[in-house]
């Protein structure tokens, strides 16, 4: 009974507030994209380079462990005190969260590329950059993208918590049941889930587009262990 009521209420909410939800969703996308962007720029090159030279495994893998151990709430709280309320603090907090999976996976994906292929490339006289670009990265794509997807979905699903620190987005509704009622919370949650799914699919599509034809496997990625919800 309650379930049915809540669900219908949620759909009502969505239907009656399209612009409101859309603007909140856009805010959330902005926040998530910014956070992911920072994490990508920092962690991806670092991970790839470390993986190429097969060094720094402890850092790369430790980053994930540390990342998991940092509760999103704590991060948000800390950065709020450092950077004040608003967009910046939450972006940074979420970026820190996203760094773990991206760093670890970019490291592992390059580190695990078939050594024989790399050795052959070295023997043929390819430079480091050429090996990375032509051999390692194409072969590393699946695992790399898994990390990206995990990071992206984590950020999107965690962003609502940031609302308590001025993060805006759909979280504003979710943490404010007093104003929007349970249907509002549920409705906004559906939007978050839809957003997560969209991001997941978008990245998966990107992965397929970027993968060289010969390497395209048609497996849907399975377990997402290592992910941390909001």
């Amino acid at each position: 009974m309650i379930v049915a009521g809540a669900f219908t209420g949620a759909f009502h909410f969505i239907v009656h507030n399209p612009h409101f939800l859309a603007s909140k969703t856009l805010d959330q996308i902005e926040l998530s994209a910014a956070a992911l962007g920072i994490a990508l720029v920092v962690a991806l090159p670092l991970g790839v380079v470390l993986g190429h030279f097969h060094r720094g495994a402890t850092i790369a893998i430790g980053a994930s462990i540390l990342g998991r151990a940092l509760p999103s709430l704590v991060l948000i709280g800390i950065f709020l005190t450092v950077l004040g309320i608003g967009f910046r603090n939450n972006t940074v907090a979420l970026a820190v969260l996203a760094t773990g999976p991206i760093l670890t996976n970019s490291y592992e994906s390059v580190d695990r590329v078939d050594r024989d292929a790399v050795d052959a490339a070295i023997g043929l006289g390819m430079t480091h950059v050429q090996i990375l670009r032509r051999i390692e990265l194409p072969l590393a794509l699946p695992l790399l993208f898994t990390g990206l997807r995990v990071a992206a979905v984590t950020v999107v699903a965690t962003a609502p918590v940031a609302a308590v620190a001025g993060g805006g987005g759909l979280g504003d509704i979710i943490v404010n049941q007093a104003s929007y009622g349970l249907s509002g919370v549920l409705g906004a949650s559906f939007c978050v889930m839809a957003l997560s799914a969209a991001v997941f699919l978008a990245l998966f599509g990107l992965q397929i587009a970027v993968t060289p034809r010969a390497l395209r496997a048609t497996k849907v990625p399975g377990n997402l262990s290592g992910k941390e919800p909001a």
């Binding site: 005190t81 699903a157 918590v161 349970l182 919370v185 909001a230």
Partner: protein
């Protein structure tokens, strides 16, 4: 959703200069409030985690054994777990309230769900990780199905299980902070309280945060130690 409010800026007027000025970190506040704020929060948080992981593990283990012996349930879980992770935990907590009220139970149900969803695939994968030749040798030597499971497959699954436990424990501690949105318990509570203030009190946030992070890291380290004890064979090299 209201937060049960506790002391906002503690010790009105009685605070030290540090506290009143909201300096970066006030040890005196920590000392003064260890017993009434931080320590109970820590204990509650540990309780929360132990119950969630305990139940989650028991369930995941039972289900995994069933699935392994009867070859069912393999696929649905991938999808369910992917779905569950897209639900913000804050939302999930609130969504359970109509069913189980604003109680420990609500929080635990959500936490157990997240834990289950991490542990089940790990345990199943671990059980399936035995090499085919080891299984063939075991069968050929005359071990019964049960014996193969308990004497060969399970011991060999321990590394995967512990890996899953590490993730589950740390995740639970992390999500547990958000539980304070619902109930004034756990290490998230001091943080929410501080955030609810126009000028958030830094020390409170940092100390509770440090405890949460510390707890997670300590548990992770303990599990690594456990793995070393239980699995002496996994780190050997050919000598």
């Amino acid at each position: 959703m209201s937060l049960a409010s506790g002391p906002v800026i503690p010790n009105f007027g009685k605070g030290s200069a540090c506290v009143r000025g909201d300096h970066t970190f006030c040890w005196d506040w920590v000392r003064d409030h260890w017993n009434d704020t931080l320590s109970p929060a820590l204990v509650q948080h540990i309780e929360l985690t132990v119950i969630a992981v305990g139940i989650g593990f028991a369930l995941a283990f039972a289900l995994a054994l069933l699935a392994h012996s009867y070859r069912l349930l393999e696929q649905p879980f991938g999808i369910v777990s992917a779905l569950l992770y897209t639900i913000p935990s804050i939302a999930l907590f609130q969504l359970l309230v109509p069913f189980t009220g604003i109680t420990w139970t609500t929080v635990e149900i959500a936490l157990v769900a997240y834990t289950l969803v991490i542990l089940y695939p790990n345990i199943t994968a671990g059980l399936r990780s035995t090499s085919p030749e080891v299984l063939e040798a075991a069968r050929g030597m005359g071990l019964t199905r049960q014996q193969v499971l308990w004497r060969v497959e399970l011991p060999l699954a321990v590394p995967a299980i512990i890996a899953g436990l590490r993730i589950a424990v740390v995740s639970t501690i992390s999500i547990g902070t958000i539980a304070a949105f619902l109930l004034p318990k756990g290490l998230g509570y001091p943080i929410f309280v501080a955030l609810g203030n126009p000028t958030p009190f830094k020390t409170e946030i940092y100390s509770a945060g440090a405890l949460a992070i510390g707890l997670a890291l300590v548990c992770d380290a303990l599990l690594v130690l456990l793995r070393r004890l239980l699995v002496p064979w996994a780190r050997l090299r050919f000598a």
